[in-house]
Symmetry: C2
Subunit: 156 residues, 2 copies
């Protein structure tokens, strides 16, 4: 699991589609203008989204892109992992430096952590994100004033 601006482009574009779920298809030209990003680059991102069957395209005038599933059935994690390659991991198992197991341990901890992150993002769906939006701004201000609550690790 990785998170770069590439993932942001993809998620923001998907949100754009989700916001028009009932109306007409959205052209990449529109999204490109909105996000101020090159059309051809967007096409490349959408090729990956298409390959993962997250969107479907329709050609010709009036064509464009639609979500291939309901926004309630597409998670943020799916979108991000469709366009961002997973992180490289130089595995240490069976190497000479792993004397006391420390390195293996801290690597294991990292894997745990990203599992949790992945789980977190796998349970946030485009649809839910949209529906929360109306009251979002006021809520955010309130949250910033009251401080954030502590989230426990769900490991035991």
């Amino acid at each position: 699991m990785r998170l770069t601006t590439k993932g942001r482009y993809a998620v923001t574009a998907m949100l754009d589609l989700a916001l028009h779920e009932d109306s007409a298809a959205i052209t990449l030209r529109n999204i490109a203008e909105n996000q101020k990003i090159s059309l051809s680059y967007l096409e490349q991102l959408f090729a990956k989204l298409r390959k993962q069957e997250l969107v479907k395209g329709m050609r010709g005038p009036g064509g464009g892109y639609r979500l291939s599933r309901s926004a309630d059935d597409i998670s943020i994690a799916e979108i991000i992992s469709a366009v961002d390659e997973p992180m490289q991991f130089t595995d240490c198992n069976g190497e000479e430096n792993c004397k006391d197991g420390e390195r293996c341990l801290s690597h294991t901890l990292w894997v745990q952590l990203t599992d949790q992150l992945e789980n977190f993002l796998s349970n946030i769906y485009l649809g839910a994100l949209m529906r929360e939006s109306e009251t979002a701004l006021e809520q955010r201000n309130a949250a910033n004033q009251s401080g954030s609550q502590k989230v426990n690790l769900p490991l035991h």
Copy 2:
């Protein structure tokens, strides 16, 4: 908030320090060998961690690095944002393409999402991560079999 291999190096290195919180200081040379990463690159990462006062270095023989606070008081989010630059955001406020507010909205939604991610990682501490490690592997296997529970958005 961004998440690249750079952040992984930093978190894994910090975990290495945390695992030795009571014993001697850890040299960068050690960490570099463990993680199979160049010493000088690690130094550059640690320059940033030092600037954020997450670690403190001690020179001379027997020197090395220590956490500057308790592992229970250092969050993963702090570490990652110390080394990874924040994502670039081309703000759309007051531009001509923002006709119907859609773009602003999907950008706003993205900001919300990353706020949540940031909040999530801000509440996972090095110390907690370490302490969970003993039973982690068995627990993970169990969790994968039983499936993951749905996490609700904490917005209302």
